[in-house]
Symmetry: C2
Subunit: 445 residues, 2 copies
């Protein structure tokens, strides 16, 4: 029994009509969220650097990217889309394994769809299959793989992109096995780069390499048949503990996209409950920053594992600082894109409060929870326990909230009328004859 083969067979034999309507709707929500991120992130300085550094190496301009007019080959388009959609840390997240599933996957698909005519139906179908692939592989290796230091969005994401593009290329089962093997052998991305531009490159790298895997397999470029489950395969090599049954159990009946979460704040999911609580304290008490004497937050251990940067000067570092996010909630009562800029990190009021925050790792607190205690100069103590954060699976963002999130992000790039047109197209993506149309609608006209 080979998990790689079982998965490949499922991918090749799946039909869109076998996928329930609510799952198909969730794919539209995920893609709308993805597009907002890609448009919003499309003008970031690190994106400009990547674009201008790689431009001399672009191939024939047969493809386009989201939100920008530049043309390039589809592999570099996948790379660029991955960078723009991930760079704000505003993308979707699977709370089960902390994969950001759409950037590596949808970035490859949209790149493909600008260079090849793809119907919305085929697009959604490939997206959902790629999603299953990366989410299930992620489930199998989480948490050992992530704890070891792998950026799971990148390492699992490359499989998602390979599966999705492989589906559009109508690979045979054997070829899909090779595509997964070529993807496995390109899986990479270290958490050591969190807080640096290379982190956002990961998503694009996975998109590009997954796409490449499918292209090579289509030409009968071979790889090992057991690239996931073999003794020197992806699972054994990159995870001290893993459960391969999570790849195959319920394949075709239990869809992982049901667990997809969309962020209300552009930073790691694990600090969201703390932000929720601090915003609520801000709204209730309006504490004066200078009068905040001390703040104690008790959080799940993973929070400090991921977001323990305190002495920071750059916006990007703020995304990895439970201290900064705590201060933002208390001082500004919000944590939007403008709160994770260099200016916000160096804002004296925010900085002062940030330095007074103590974070305590507490294994009795779940990753959805946070316990916040604020002491004020007048002796008052403000306490808030957050049971479940906004945007988590039990308090998901509504369709309307997702639209507003896209509106907010896209407002940096597109005129309002174009944004409304874009939202409309997102909701009816599966009716499109040519998904390239949707990509064009993201480019300022």
């Amino acid at each position: 029994m080979s998990e790689t083969r079982t998965l490949a067979s499922y991918l090749i034999n799946s039909r869109i009509d076998d996928i329930p309507a609510d799952i198909q709707h969730e794919s539209r929500r995920s893609l709308l969220n993805y597009i907002g991120c890609a448009v919003g992130g499309s003008r970031e300085p690190s994106v400009e650097i990547l674009l201008s550094a790689m431009q001399p190496y672009f191939g024939k301009p047969t493809a386009g990217i989201l939100a920008r007019a530049e043309r390039m080959d589809p592999l570099h388009a996948a790379l660029m889309n991955g960078m723009t959609s991930h760079v704000f840390e505003y993308d979707d997240t699977l709370p089960k394994n902390y994969i950001h599933p759409s950037p590596p996957l949808a970035s490859a698909l949209f790149a493909y769809a600008t260079a090849n005519r793809v119907t919305g139906k085929d697009f959604i179908h490939s997206y959902l299959l790629g999603f299953e692939t990366e989410a299930r592989i992620g489930n199998a290796i989480y948490p050992a793989h992530y704890e070891a230091g792998w950026h799971i969005t990148s390492t699992a994401g490359v499989f998602g992109a390979a599966a999705a593009i492989g589906k559009l290329l109508s690979l045979s089962v054997e070829q899909m096995i090779w595509a997964l093997g070529i993807a496995a052998t390109q899986a990479s991305g270290l958490r050591e780069n969190f807080g640096y531009m290379a982190k956002y490159f990961h998503a694009g790298h996975a998109a590009k390499n997954g796409y490449t895997s499918a292209i090579l397999a289509k030409s009968d470029f071979t790889a090992g048949p057991h690239s996931i489950e073999g003794p020197r395969g992806f699972a054994a090599v990159t995870a001290a503990k893993y459960d391969l049954s999570k790849i195959t159990n319920g394949l075709g009946t239990e869809f992982q996209i049901r667990d997809n979460a969309y962020k209300p704040y552009p930073c790691g999911l694990v600090v969201h409950p703390t932000i929720d609580g601090c915003i609520e304290l801000h709204q209730t008490y309006h504490p004066v920053p200078a009068e905040i004497e001390s703040v104690r937050v008790r959080v799940a251990p993973l929070v400090l594992d991921l977001c323990n940067k305190k002495d920071i000067t750059r916006g990007l570092e703020g995304k990895y600082s439970i201290y900064h996010s705590t201060a933002l909630g208390l001082v500004r009562g919000k944590a939007g894109l403008q709160e994770y800029t260099d200016a916000a990190v160096n804002d004296p009021a925010v900085k002062q409060v940030r330095e007074r925050v103590v974070a305590i790792s507490d294994a009795s607190i779940t990753e959805d929870q946070s316990h916040i205690e604020v002491e004020l100069a007048d002796g008052r103590k403000l306490v808030k326990f957050v049971e479940e954060s906004i945007g988590n699976l039990r308090r998901p963002l509504t369709d309307k909230q997702l639209e507003d999130k896209l509106r907010d992000q896209a407002s940096f790039v597109l005129p309002a009328a174009q944004i409304e047109k874009l939202i409309e197209l997102c909701w009816k993506i599966d009716a499109l004859e040519d998904v390239g149309e949707l990509v064009k609608a993201t480019v300022p006209s």
Copy 2:
């Protein structure tokens, strides 16, 4: 103290005049061996597949590759050179860590040198620095990293390519730290793919990604400052045990290329002592294949770990079969390129003997040794103990033997006169004003 920073500073501050003459000569030997491999492998079916599958994605044709007339962007040229130079398993090997150092490294450098004017002196210098980089990182993580299932040629090789191209691009120390970080985060390649085309892709993938790392760093695309030694850095994430002092101890005084070995047979180094012994038995006794009743080889444990494929039908699998190589030595008295084809693997005489070979893992046998016992139908027992294999560090191939190896490989591709011209250019590479000339000399005119 940061190993990444120490290494980056060394790379940036190194001057060619600080490198001893014998080390410079060894780089010429390594490059001559590399070029023979790249020329010899340039017409392999898997190379043709890679080339035609990727061709639609090639960028502006500013670069060339070894032994072929096609033009492309330098990143794809690095990929192609990596594939051709590794595909025959005839490339150089560091017995200390089993890295094939030249394919990922020299493939990037030659690609660069066709798109940019590089003097031989700068080329050799960058090559030697890239060599130090990948060999030392390999030493630090070997054997745990390799035993876990990583293809160390690829995972360490990407650092070598990044360092070498970074040197040619005159990066600052800070930029070199980022280049190493972007390389670290792209390090990949699973041993599960050994015996398949994806294995040879690894070397090219490392060359291309290392090259990309240097380009990005040159544009100030940032990565973490501790990508090698950090808690979520390359060493900790990919090796259960590692010794970072091997990266920095003796940097600039002890050169790893001294330990480079060149193969007399186009297969994994670990089966070479067995081949040596079997060829000697063949030459002494000329045993008739049908009369070989049984063969017992006692070998180091790593041999069975790497080359335990017995039931094989493809030439490529033969390279991973101690059984096949044993049979070749006994039946044919040689193990050249013609002995690892599909035809040779299916040759009835070879197959019959192969099936009679038993291999025993013996921890008292070193990886340079082999103990061979052959029983013949007439009751005779032939015994051979190989103490040290040909091509190992104490019995290195001479300059003349390296030339003959190149002649043999290149004879599939180039006319004899061009081969002699090429050999001449290889020996005087450091006098060249433009290394692109040497690449042109490998292309059939």
